[in-house]
């Protein structure tokens, strides 16, 4: 069992505990997931894939729910999109 998983967030490599979701990792580091229609920073609300506030870009695909996605080694995450 690996001691940590390495993912890339906004170009920066970070270590996360194995099995953590992307949303948990971002929130722990104070990184907001997205900007709202009027430009406010937003983070996860429901934690269970309902609210869509946790959307980030994962491996080039926008609008993925980060609270439903477990970190995989090498995943590239971009925040601050729609």
């Amino acid at each position: 069992m690996p001691e940590s998983t390495r993912i890339v967030v906004n170009g920066e490599e970070i270590s996360t505990q194995p099995g953590a979701t992307i949303a948990a990792v971002l929130a722990s580091r104070g990184i907001a997931c997205r900007r709202s229609v009027t430009g406010d920073l937003r983070g996860p609300l429901c934690g269970m894939g309902i609210c869509y506030e946790c959307r980030v870009e994962i491996n080039g695909i926008p609008n993925c729910r980060s609270c439903q996605t477990i970190c995989e080694p090498g995943m590239e995450v971009s925040t601050g999109g729609g």
Binding site: T16, Q17, G19, A20, T21, A23, A24, V25, A27, S28, G30, A32, S36, V37, T38, D40, L41, R42, G43, P44, L45, C46, G47, M48, G49, I50, C51, Y52, E53, R55, N63, C64, C67, Q68, T69, I70
Partner: protein, 423 residues
């Protein structure tokens, strides 16, 4: 990308307690069983992060017999066709066409969100949502957390957080002490009684509990920094790192509505064997009534027995279930959301988070449909799951009909849905 086709005798949607109980019974009856859940692992909300490898009750249910049960996690159902008995689902990398003889829907419930100024700041979360995030790796040790809203869920959440090292600053219950007393937990105006009754005493020792208390405003600069509470008629501001808000649960009935099941007062109608009004479609757990863990387990078992032709074996289970229903009703009554919570929004308080529609833009409209058309409230990716129950509470609006996709789905998944033509 063509859909991967699968066939099951019994297909279960929802991997929480009701779905797991159904899966066990279905497998025991020898039926080829599939269980689908959109979370990364089974367990639903209450058993999120639980392992199948210890002696807990959760583990017992999470240990599914793989010979008979195929598990599809990270997969959500976005479309359905009752006539051809097919569900259409997708995961991050694949999409599926799931055929069934019998369908058991155990889609659970989600939290109700009530808007108030500042509720959209990062680190304001649902009560169960914060717990889910903590279970999924959110660092909470030493963080100051205010837990607010209503109902026993708050205590369960606070206990979990405290046990894992968070500094739970206060539990704020909007119900009055009178109501709590009437709830009949032998309270005698002692919050410690609730704690005892739920076996949480040790975990919540020293955590302040305040009834007649609710959040009025979350404050912070780009992130939550404090919450202003209404507390017994006064205001009090508490600095905090997280605010967890829970205002009851709303049943996830969208898939059931899409299949054409009868819905009454927001819940799915089932008979005593958990059958819905649609042939071969059963429903167990929260979508039939918010009943809690025990009730969900019983209903899951009853549904699977019914689906596999073993109705006659459900007698004892149905009897047990019947004894639980009054508790659920008493719970609802005791923790009814007070009207004050309708007055928290200011004109510029966001109500629809997907489209940033503020309260002031919604008030002129007479209905959910009118508001949706003219302000786009409810037209975002949450499909009204957040703002729908909120506006129902604020304005009395009823939601309108359900159309596919019932969750946002990839364009190609929706494009390659094939339906049988003809009657």
């Amino acid at each position: 990308m063509a859909a991967e086709k699968k066939c099951f005798d019994v297909l279960i949607v929802g991997g929480g307690p009701a779905g797991l109980a159904a899966a066990h019974r279905s497998a025991r009856a020898g039926a080829s069983t599939g269980i689908v859940d959109d979370n990364p692992a089974l367990g639903g909300q209450i058993w999120r992060g639980e392992t199948p490898h210890n002696k807990s009750e959760a583990a017992k249910w999470l240990n599914l017999p793989r010979t008979h049960v195929e598990i599809l996690t990270g997969t959500h159902v976005f479309h359905a066709d009752a006539r051809s008995r097919t569900l259409f689902a997708e995961s991050r990398l694949a999409n599926f066409e799931l055929h069934y003889n019998h369908l058991i829907l155990a889609t659970g419930a989600r939290e109700r969100f009530l808007p108030f100024p500042g509720w959209t700041l990062p680190n304001v979360m649902a009560a169960g949502g914060l717990q889910a995030m903590a279970k999924s790796g959110l660092a909470i040790r030493g963080k100051r957390i205010v837990v607010a809203g209503t109902g026993p869920l708050l205590l369960a959440v606070a206990a979990y957080l405290a046990k894992h090292g968070a500094n739970v600053t206060m539990i704020c219950e909007q119900a009055s002490f009178t109501r709590l007393v009437r709830f009949g937990l032998g309270l005698a105006a002692q919050p410690s009684k609730i704690v005892q009754a739920l076996g949480l005493r040790r975990d919540l020792a020293g955590v302040p509990f305040s009834a007649n208390t609710w959040p009025m405003k979350a404050k912070g600069n780009g992130v939550l920094q404090s919450v202003v509470l209404s507390r017994n008629g006064h205001t009090q501001e508490l600095a905090c790192d997280y605010l967890a808000c829970g205002f009851h649960l709303v049943p996830n009935i969208e898939l059931l509505a899409l299949l054409g099941c009868n819905i009454r007062n927001g819940f799915v109608e089932v008979d005593e064997f958990q059958k819905t009004s649609v042939e071969n479609v059963y429903c167990a757990g929260e979508p039939t009534a918010i009943g809690g863990l025990e009730s969900s387990l019983l209903e899951g078992e009853i549904a699977a027995l019914s689906a596999t032709g073993l109705q006659d074996a459900t007698g004892a289970l149905r009897h047990k279930r019947g004894k639980l229903s009054s508790f659920a009703t008493r719970l609802e009554t005791a923790f009814t959301i007070r009207p004050d919570l309708r007055t928290l929004c200011e004109a510029d308080t966001i109500v629809c988070r997907c489209e940033d529609v503020v309260h002031g833009r919604l008030t002129p409209h007479p209905s959910w449909r009118a508001a949706k058309l003219h302000t786009r409230c409810g037209m975002g990716p949450c499909q009204g799951r957040v703002c729908g129950p909120a506006t129902e509470f604020l304005f009395g609006w009823q939601p309108d009909s359900v159309r596919p996709p019932i969750y946002p789905a990839r364009f190609e998944s929706l494009a390659f849905v094939e339906h049988e033509l003809g009657a």
